[in-house]
């Protein structure tokens, strides 16, 4: 029987290796898999490359992972936030590497990894510092930049409901990077607030089909907290 339900966060995260590339869902306050990040801190893997839209808020979640000194490099679109002081300190003191990627290119590079695309041409960033050194190409009168996929070893995502096959639904804008990150990693662990029987999710409304999910683990619902604004 196919059962992807892990008994605990600890079980779900066993065996994460040092130097892994870990994708972590979330945009701002929404969709951050806080319990899974805490589990990763407890698990102990280090020298990680983290892919996330941001670079941590306050002192919990990703910020706590950074503060614990586990992250060698972060790939993100918007590290600077009102309360991103943990990242800011590490960055200014040269203790973390930053790869800054435009947000849409970040999402598309992750999708490309999941969809088996070897590389793609995007108009985003052409003529800017973020395209420096990258191949460009004129297609149909428009300039494009060549971008490569971002593959991950582990995705940590926050979903809403799941079943034992690993099908997932999300809640509102907490969906954000979850579906593409789930596609792009060798192993995907999702937290859910409810585990339903097989058939309990509408087959027309499943957002992440079982094929992209390795394990799901139930965590208690806590109201998503307010966080730093961009500006």
């Amino acid at each position: 029987m196919l059962n992807k339900v892990a008994a605990s966060v600890g079980d779900a995260l066993a065996g994460v290796e040092d130097a892994a590339t870990v994708m972590i869902g979330g945009f701002g306050t929404a969709g951050i898999p806080v319990e899974l990040i805490e589990g990763l801190i407890a698990q102990g893997a280090r020298d990680l490359t983290v892919v996330n839209n941001n670079a941590g808020n306050g002192d919990t979640g990703l910020a706590a992972l950074l503060a614990a000194g586990r992250v060698r490099k972060i790939v993100c679109s918007f590290p600077r936030q009102a309360d991103s002081h943990v990242f800011d300190d590490l960055y200014r003191s040269g203790r973390i590497e930053l790869e800054l990627v435009p947000q849409g290119t970040l999402a598309e590079r992750i999708r490309a990894a999941g969809a088996g695309i070897g590389a793609f041409y995007t108009p985003t960033g052409h003529g800017t510092e973020l395209a420096k050194g990258k191949e460009t190409r004129l297609i149909d009168g428009r300039q494009y930049v060549l971008e490569y996929p971002i593959h991950g070893d582990l995705a940590l995502i926050k979903a809403e409901r799941g079943d034992r096959w690993g099908n997932l639904t999300y809640r509102k804008t907490a969906r954000n990077f979850g579906p593409v990150m789930a596609m792009a990693c060798r192993r995907t662990v999702a937290s859910v607030h409810e585990i339903v029987d097989l058939g309990g999710l509408d087959p027309e409304a499943i957002v992440t089909p079982a094929i992209f999910v390795s394990q799901i683990v139930k965590v208690e619902r806590r109201a998503t907290q307010a966080g730093g604004f961009k500006q």
């Binding site: 945009f27 701002g28 306050t29 929404a30 969709g31 839209n53 679109s77 918007f78 590290p79 600077r80 991103s84 990242f87 800011d88 960055y91 200014r92 930053l98 800054l100 990627v101 435009p102 947000q103 849409g104 290119t105 999402a107 598309e108 992750i110 999708r111 995007t122 108009p123 985003t124 960033g125 052409h126 003529g127 800017t128 510092e129 973020l130 300039q143 999300y170 809640r171 509102k172 804008t173 907490a174 969906r175 954000n176 990077f177 979850g178 579906p179 593409v180 957002v207 109201a223 998503t224 907290q225 307010a226 966080g227 730093g228 604004f229 961009k230 500006q231």
Partner: protein, 221 residues
């Protein structure tokens, strides 16, 4: 002559006036989000937020905030009936694929030919952060900028060539500012309107650049 700068709300109302009924609009983050408050109730405009939502509604009532439902600026919002949620790759497919009619962005500098600089003020000490600005700037059918025309030091933010790092090349179509509305064209700046009391000559002096007069029948957006 005496002229009065548009307030932030007046500027937002000026932008809103040019958004046609039925348009799909992305208001970025910060100041442009004010535009939403000024769209005439007779017009139905679909607001897109790049973090995965179409049909974004106003801020929730106090106490009803849901931090799973936020805009690109990470502020709590609501969803209108008819709205939908989608994932990030789909959201940026909408942007990059030219499905957004208008996006409104802030700017540090705009060049006369529409180059945009809005993500990095060139301070090498600053922590860089780009977000979705580069995607929006080149992806929307029309990119509008909303900003003060002059810096606090009185320098024009409309420049012959941007000196700050670029967000996008030749992507800005219109500049809505506290003093004037301008169009960026391959031939240079063209005037759309001025605040009362400001002359064309004075505007040219402030920006330090030639500004073509508006075409005879003023163009809609």
């Amino acid at each position: 002559m005496i002229y009065q700068r548009r307030t932030k709300d007046q500027l937002a109302a000026r932008v809103a006036r040019d958004i046609p009924d039925g348009a799909v609009v992305n208001l970025g983050i910060g100041q442009p989000t004010l535009v939403a408050n000024h769209i005439a109730s007779s017009r139905e405009v679909l607001l897109h937020s790049e973090n995965g939502m179409l049909g974004m509604g106003p801020a929730p009532h106090s106490g009803e905030e849901d931090y799973d439902l936020i805009n690109a600026g990470k502020q709590p919002v609501t969803l209108l009936p008819g709205g939908s949620y989608f994932a990030h790759a789909d959201s940026f497919a909408m942007i990059r694929g030219r499905h957004i009619d208008i996006c409104v962005l802030g700017a540090f500098q705009v060049s006369v030919t529409g180059d945009l600089a809005n993500w990095h003020a060139g301070d090498t000490n600053a922590i860089p952060a780009v977000g979705g600005a580069m995607d929006l700037a080149v992806g929307a059918k029309q990119t509008w900028v909303m900003m003060d025309l002059l810096t606090r030091q009185g320098n024009s933010k409309v420049v012959p060539v941007c000196t700050y790092p670029l967000t996008g090349v030749s992507c800005v179509k219109r500049i809505y500012s506290d003093l004037a509305t301008l169009e960026c064209t391959p031939g240079g700046l063209r005037l759309v309107d001025l605040v009362d009391g400001l002359t064309h000559a004075e505007l040219e002096r402030l920006v330090g650049l030639p500004v073509m007069p508006p075409p005879r029948s003023p163009a809609g957006p």
